[in-house]
Amino acid sequence: MRDATTNALQRRLTEPDLAAGTIGLLLGLALLPLAFVSSDILAQMLPVVLVVGCGLYQLVRFEGGLQQQVSPLERISGNGLDVLSGLTFLGIAGMAVVALLTDGRTVPFFVVAGLTGSAIFGQILFGVERELRPGLILAQLIAFSLVVRYAALLTTPGLMGVDAWTHVTDYAAAIDGANSLSAIADVKYVAAPIYHLVVVTVAEALRIPLRAALYASIGLVVPIASLFVYAGGRYILPVRWSLFAVAAFSVADHVVRWGLHLIPTSLGLVFFVGVLYALARIFVVGPTWRTYALAVGFSFATILTHQLSAFVLLVVLGAAAAVSLLANRGWLPYDVHAGLSVPALFGTYVVAVTVNWAMTPTRTGSFLLRMPDLLAQQIFRTAQFLNLVSAPATTEATGFAAPGVPFQIALLDSVGFLLFTLTAVIGSLALLRRGTADMITLVVVGALVVTGTFTLVLPLFGVNAFIPGRWYAFMYVPMAIVAAFGAWYVAQFVPRRVAVASLLVVAVIFPAGMLIAHKATLDNQVAGQHYAEYSYSAAELAAVETVGATVPDTRAPLVTDHPYRTVFLRTDAFDAEPLQLRGPPPSTYLYRDYQTTGAPTVLVGETPVTTTVDPGQYCGPETERLYANEDVLLCTAA
């Protein structure tokens, strides 16, 4: 008995997957009390996910001894797959019709989209291996992804998000007008202008407005680039699980987000996935100049598109290079060897990114010199354990859920992400097992660990200087591959009934859960009382234009909610300040119906708060009403 216990302990310490699982389990248990000190849903639930994932893995590993299931789980034969594929196409058509009839992505749209997404996952998870037609499933997935995004893009007036207004109506328009990048000479994007140049070129070539050019170019490329996850996944995974990875990535909330809020981050993500694909090819096919050219080309394209994407890539390539060097030195508990191709790629990248950042202007010198200073200031100013910063305006930066949201709503909003994380935890442990692990899988786990650290761990300590909210979509690339391993592990080694039930839960809940998450629904929040919409009605945008054109600049800044005020600022229409609930009434106030029906953010003292505002509060009979349209009133103190 004592010998058995000793053996189990020894095994736990010497087997890397078991050792990592034990550390994960202990870490999860240690973090469980976070639920008592933080109201953030991720701070509350991620430790639970870590404990469940690590515990489940260890349990199966010990109980089953990794005995593979004798009979496969798949049950849907060729005819069944054809019917399900047909239903998926009809579902996609239904989504388009519902979006058109209900004028946007409303709840009925998400019901149809959830069911259609489940049909795609159902085919992938339960289709008979030899009957799976990857081309057909990928066609469904791309069609589905395009309809999910374009249903929002084509039914929403103007642009979505905050930064898109600056990039399109300011930077791209300036380049288009001046026919030169000198129009943005004092902006950091002068050294990373690919996004703007593509939009301007398409607009000029097709003679269409910049917004239409954006949707016809970047809007189309972002969902198609998801195929890189499948292409790269195929160097690591069999067809079924590569399909699972690309499906998980395509419907993931932050990936959908960057397909709606089309800014340089979106294109940066596209090139980033391209580099990871090339990296997989380098490890599996070999470091030929052809693949190396792809990796270098996409790396440079990332640098020339977006500074933050370039930084994420720097971190990921650094992790890949470190794993390679550790493997070469024999310091990893695996019999793997990587050569020097990836460290060389990393070195090339460091030189290129250094040169580019040295030429990137900021207000106080080059980006290269300014960035470390900014980061140090940010880190020392905000760093503190559990300093999640309770301001809604900072949810963009942290990526954590907005505070004040009821637990059930926040849980519903995060269920897709939590399921994704659970599967990825199991997958990363399965990947660390001797016999499964090779260089590329270790690099994928390494990439997930470093991106996960920047996305989820550093914000726990108040370090938001790296804008962790922007890292999620990048983290999802290795996470999708690792989660596919997790799903494979469940299908292969977990007792049959449990496995079927688990994968059914994934197929039914995951796509719908991700699609309704607030980051994926900038245009029309499902929980509209709790999460802000970053899209505007035609009336709201008409007010921006008219106020900007007809109100004299000498007037005091107008006051309105966040994010509406950002449109005034980003389009340079008029100076706008956030509504302050405490203090004297504003002299010029812009009310919109969304302030009563939605989730606007206003200031209470210094604190941003999501609350509704009654029209009579600052637009009552004692004020002058100078402007009115369907949704907007402009009132001034009489």
Binding site: N79, V202, Y627
Partner: protein, 328 residues
């Protein structure tokens, strides 16, 4: 070694046309599309899109991918359950597709960057660079492909032509799939067209202001401090983002005092015709007969005729301004 060369040369003679059809087509389409896009004539947007989108989002990347990976993926190692290993010079069809699209974007962006450095961000130089890059890549792809043994070459158009294993519906379920896919494609396409051409419900804006020195209307700059007996002009603007001419009625109402002591009097009714997607301005003269510290002027906007007792409940839009009057 010489034998290899001889074999390659023979292969060029025999199969080069069929095996490089896609590359030559890419080069030809690139030139045609570039000419169509660069022509200084007003073509329909759809024609420009049909020519311009492949030119900017597919063809350059396809040529570069063909140059880098001239070989076809060996189908024997791409078994469903196996890990992909297509070979050093080959990529799978999915890889080729996504590489074509993403590389095209990178190439167009880089062409824009180069054009900016030389002449500026103008369409023609960018197109010229894209075309030159695509033709160069096509040339390399042509040469690379012919340097391979015929059975190793990636030749998609020949594969399509000679394919015998094309999928054909053989069961009711397969027919259902085909019908659903076609129907889905048509419905999504029609919905997209409908969304693109939708005019929406339109917006009607109503605001008050004063005339500026250059004759435009500045919102909120209407006269507020009046002289007794002297008229002051308020300008009311109706801006409609609707197609079709619309007749509106503006009712101006004066309210003196407040609460139950308020006395209301109508200043006048003004008919205003607003052209399609345009605006119209109505000037209204306000005259106060005695000194007042505060008089509220309500402007009600109605589509068509106004009721006999206009108010904020029935009006389409309501504006409220406050004026005062003093002796001169």
């Amino acid at each position: 070694m010489f034998g290899d060369h001889l074999r390659t040369t023979t292969a060029i003679d025999g199969d080069s046309h069929a095996h490089t059809l896609d590359v030559r087509l890419t080069a030809a389409l690139t030139i045609i599309a570039a000419v169509l896009v660069a022509m200084p004539v007003e073509e329909p947007t759809i024609l420009r899109a049909v020519a311009g989108l492949p030119l900017l989002l597919f063809l350059p990347g396809y040529a570069v991918t063909a140059a880098l990976f001239p070989a076809r993926a060996d189908s024997s190692v791409t078994h469903d359950s196996a890990i992909l290993h297509p070979g050093v010079r080959a990529v799978s069809t999915v890889e080729r597709l996504v590489l074509s699209v993403v590389a095209s974007v990178a190439i167009v962006g880089t062409a824009g960057l180069l054009a900016n450095a030389v002449v500026g961000v103008f369409l023609v130089p960018i197109l010229l660079l894209v075309v030159l890059g695509t033709l160069l890549a096509s040339l390399i792809a042509y040469s690379e492909r012919l340097n391979l043994a015929p059975n190793q070459r990636y030749a998609p158009l020949q594969s399509l032509r000679g394919s015998t294993g094309r999928w054909r519906p053989t069961s009711a379920a397969a027919w259902f799939l085909l019908a659903a896919a076609v129907a889905g494609f048509l419905v999504v396409g029609a919905s997209g067209v409908a969304a693109l051409t939708a005019t929406g419900d339109g917006v009607t804006e109503f605001y008050v202001g004063g005339e500026t020195e250059n004759g435009t209307i500045a919102m909120g700059e209407h006269p507020r401090s009046l002289t007794v007996g002297e008229p002051a002009t308020h300008y009311l603007v109706v801006d409609q983002h609707n197609s079709g001419v619309t007749n509106y009625t503006i009712v101006a109402q004066r309210v003196i005092g407040n609460g139950t002591n308020a006395s209301t009097g109508e200043i006048g009714r003004y008919d205003l015709t607003v052209p399609s997607n345009d605006h119209a301005v109505q000037s209204i003269e306000i005259t106060l007969d005695e000194p007042r510290e505060s008089v509220q002027i309500n402007y009600y906007l109605y589509a068509g005729d106004a009721p006999s007792a206009p108010d904020g409940e029935t009006a389409m839009r309501t504006l409220i301004v406050d004026v005062s009057a003093a002796e001169s």
